[in-house]
Amino acid sequence: MKFRLLYFASLADCAGCAAESVDARASDLASLYDEVRQRHDFNLDRERLRVAVNGHIVAWDHPLNEDDEIVFLPPVSGG
């Protein structure tokens, strides 16, 4: 399935980009993170992240659809 991924903070630094389109083997969020983590050498464990699909925070078992915009959110540090 094809997805649009956005990266922020340390994940963007590791990926070397703020966004990318991927054609992934993964069909769920957890394996999608594993797939891109391996490719970009992310060193944040999935347990430390939240995930958003199409602008909404979702659970890791949220079903995916073609062309979803997915953001793996590192621990935040605003304020």
Partner: protein
């Protein structure tokens, strides 16, 4: 007008405060978060905030709506900076008005804590020695930095 705003330019606290005016309010509490020149023993020169803007706006709005409900506020508003800031700049402004001070103090504290916990904004500190790094909510360095 939205209760929560993410802005690329400096925050005008005086203008923001007008959003809290209400004839029934007997208390107003405002919190300003400033960029300080040190963190965890290191000298800080400046910092950058990166935000996932659509989600930051909706999460911020949800926090302020919940605060109004929970603390019976007359008004609540918050503004968070994005982009590049230097020492002394205002990074975040939170203001509430309520009938009495107990609710106003508690709500203001609750809102800034929730913002720091939930809103997708990330701080990259640049140190005097030339290094920089993304921070975690407790202001310790992120191990995801390179």
């Amino acid at each position: 007008m939205s209760r929560f705003r993410l802005v690329p330019d400096s925050i005008d606290g005086v203008a923001e405060k007008r959003r809290l005016e209400a004839a029934g309010a007997g208390a107003c509490v405002i919190f300003e978060g400033w960029v300080r020149n040190h963190n965890q023993g290191r000298a800080v020169q400046r910092l950058d905030y990166q935000a996932y803007a659509p989600l930051a706006s909706s999460e911020g709005e949800a926090i302020l709506d919940a605060a109004v409900d929970r603390f019976k506020l007359r008004a609540a508003a918050a503004v968070h900076r994005s982009g590049s800031l230097v020492v002394g700049d205002m990074a975040v402004w939170v203001g509430v008005s309520a009938d009495h001070r107990d609710a106003a103090f508690a709500a203001c504290r609750w809102i800034i804590d929730e913002i720091k916990l939930r809103v997708p904004i990330w701080k990259n500190e640049h140190y005097i020695d030339g290094e920089s790094g993304w921070l975690h909510p407790d202001n310790t360095p992120a191990d995801g930095g390179r």
